[in-house]
């Protein structure tokens, strides 16, 4: 790596101040699993790297009135081990466990994964299915927005250059909502997603029907996307295997995958249909288990 100046922040306010002080040439460093790979390949070093990995208020997982608050610096490994996550939103632990391998999960953070804006990221779909919101801090103060609005394009987010992602909140209304996450890659261990899908739903106990189904698809569009037509099809419909299969077929028409050396667009669409059906089935299994 080429030489750079390194500054470090111990909380988010100091990090925001350092970002403003050093201007747009600063690169933010959290777990480094994306940034250091990029810097090793980059022809030029950034003027300054801002290490936020010691920002105490951006760590930790807590249940609050608003919901489950997950600091941006929480690692994928911490998500897999957190008793709170396993109890209130186990699908997040399942998704985290599919990221890279143990070593990368112990370094890579949730915030870094979301800010990378890579369409195949494994943290995005489950959080979008649970309608998570993010908190962003900058020199103009703090704002919150839905995670779906945070993603604006491949490797592009709503974050301004002088802003930081501080935390992610899974709203209280989504806690305990039965959900499933499925990923398909070229190998079982340490592989990026060809397609990943998360589904979350309630089952109306009187009518045995889907209520508030949410489906999120990864790696098949410029950003992680919802599948609104498949969701609308399921809303109020009786829970059957056929309904889940049909929702999968509809979701496949909502995906806009590219083909590349890893998989053709058609294959990815087929994966969307199958993984959506299975993610819905996994969520239903979890709903039954909870009753």
């Amino acid at each position: 790596m080429r030489a750079f100046k390194l500054v470090s922040a111990t909380d988010s306010a100091q990090a925001v101040a350092l970002l403003a002080e050093h201007g747009p040439g600063v690169k933010v460093l959290a777990g480094g699993t994306d940034l250091l790979v990029d810097l090793k390949a980059a022809p030029e070093a950034p003027a300054v790297v801002l290490d936020i990995s010691r920002a105490a208020d951006m760590k930790g997982i807590a249940a609050t009135d608003a919901g489950l608050r997950i600091g941006a610096l929480v690692t994928h490994g911490e998500l897999t081990r957190s008793p709170l996550v396993r109890e209130l939103a186990p699908v997040l632990a399942e998704a985290a466990r599919t990221i890279g391998a143990v070593q990368t999960r112990n370094l890579g953070t949730l915030g870094g994964n979301l800010v990378s804006g890579v369409p195949s990221m494994d943290s995005g779909p489950a959080l979008i299915a649970l309608e998570a919101r993010v908190t962003v801090a900058g020199p103009r103060g703090t704002r919150t927005l839905g995670l779906a609005e945070f993603f604006v394009g491949p490797r592009r987010t709503a974050l301004a250059p002088d802003e930081l992602l501080v935390d992610v909140v899974v709203p209280a209304a989504s806690l305990g909502k039965p959900a499933g996450f499925l990923k398909s890659g070229l190998r079982k261990g340490q592989a990026l997603a060809l397609v990943n899908v998360a589904a979350a739903l309630w089952i109306d106990p009187d009518r045995g029907a889907f209520r508030a189904p949410r489906i999120a698809l990864g790696a098949v569009a410029p950003t992680v996307i919802r599948a609104p037509r498949a969701e609308a099809y399921l809303e109020g419909r009786a829970v059957t295997a056929e309904a889940m299969a049909e929702a999968g077929r509809i979701a496949a028409t909502e995906a806009r995958p590219i083909g590349d050396f890893r998989a053709s667009a058609d294959y990815r669409r087929e994966l969307v249909a199958v993984l959506t059906r299975r993610a819905l089935a996994a969520a239903c299994d979890r709903a039954e288990g909870a009753q």
């Binding site: 080429r2 100046k5 250091l36 143990v102 070593q103 990368t104 112990n106 996450f181 990923k183 340490q190």
Partner: protein, 181 residues
Amino acid sequence: MTPLRITVNGREHVLPAPPETTLLALLREHLGLTGAKLGCDVGDCGACTVLVDGLAVNACLMLAAQADGRSVLTIEGLATPDALHPIQQAFERHAALQCGFCGPGVILSAKALLDANPAPTAAEIREALAGNLCRCTGYAKMITAVHAAAQALHGATDERSPRATPVPRLPLPGGGTGGPR
């Protein structure tokens, strides 16, 4: 340059290093601990695996400055002058290494696993070693060796020993890739 204060294998070091120094470069080039290997340099191969505060990490993807004030364990910290560590002994006994380039990383991944989970299943061992690529021995003997080390360390027995039954494939959580549900 503000000096870094890092405990490596139980010994505290205070040393300056340029900001762009990775933890791997610090260990190998500044401290002369060449056990952790430079393989891919991008997080894929696991040859650089060390434990930081007990957790396995890729030392190639961490700045030395991020390990300031923390405790690092490398392969050099396992054996005593009298004996190899039980995991190393198990790898030797089961011929689980050939060229050995991947070995320091594999053994430290195994150590992190056994510290947290004294009696892992074969699937758990596979998951723990998924980030350590081996180009010559293959993984079957390593899984046997980690089982043997678990027994030696903790007297742990596991009826799903890989000798008794074929080793199951590592399942992705929730049934991920693969066959019908």
